[in-house]
Symmetry: C2
Subunit: 147 residues, 2 copies
């Protein structure tokens, strides 16, 4: 493999590892509150502004169908509801309910603790650099692969 290929391979394999760790952490944080990582993620996407399913999917880089499944489950559990969308008859808005908001709020202390642990480990400044690099890579991947 060329050096460039090695770099890409390392990036990909590391991204897979990292994804696994973040998923595990999210599940760990969400579980005590009765949520899964996916549920938390969808709830988080509509905390500040209600969005239709397809909008959530776009924001998270997932397919409509995946998000639809989760959204239906959330509504079923009373953590979210579907509200009429003035701009679109079929695309109802996913809105967090009080119960959903309360659940997300209960994750907060553990979430904060985990965040502080991570930042402490890397140092404030390095932590920002590292996350910045992550964002830059994701942006480039999205721009590059889309065509």
């Amino acid at each position: 493999m060329t050096p460039d290929q090695e770099l890409l391979a390392t990036a990909a394999l590391t991204s897979f590892r990292l994804n696994g760790r973040f998923l595990a952490l999210a599940d760990e944080l969400a579980k005590p509150v009765g949520l899964t990582a996916a549920w938390w993620q969808v709830l988080g996407a509509v905390l500040h502004e209600p969005l239709p399913v397809s909008g959530i999917a776009r924001a998270m880089g997932l397919t409509r169908q995946s998000v639809q499944r989760i959204a239906d489950l959330l509504v079923d559990r009373g953590l979210a509801t579907y509200a009429d969308n003035p701009a679109h008859a079929r695309a109802k808005l996913v809105v967090v309910t009080d119960a959903g908001l309360a659940a997300v709020r209960r994750i907060d202390p553990a979430h904060r603790a985990a965040a502080e642990r991570l930042v402490a480990e890397l140092g404030e400044e390095r932590a920002r650099e590292v996350v910045g690099a992550l964002v830059e890579l994701a942006d480039v991947m999205e721009r590059t692969e889309h065509r």
Copy 2:
């Protein structure tokens, strides 16, 4: 959310996005050769040295069961075989066959092109920094969360 929480949330969401992009890219590269991203990954893990299923799982940060499933499929398709492991009666070694090696080799040109595109986009030096940051973050996550 505290600034630390925001940073963790950004890192996690970006990691999910990035994971999706790398997966899509890997599938795109592997598909013309009749492989999936997961198959390619497992084959790649045993290209240089045969490993038992559990060893592959450890190397990739996955569970034994996931890898076992893929390995069985690979053997079924003749891309790998199970060889006796002198060190362990039950833990057979996964070995790439000629067909498996040929498949991986056929991915090479597209793999190289994709790698060059990515590095060109970021610049040689920045690309290394970014991947370094990714590795550092993954390492910290693994060290931090494991207890």
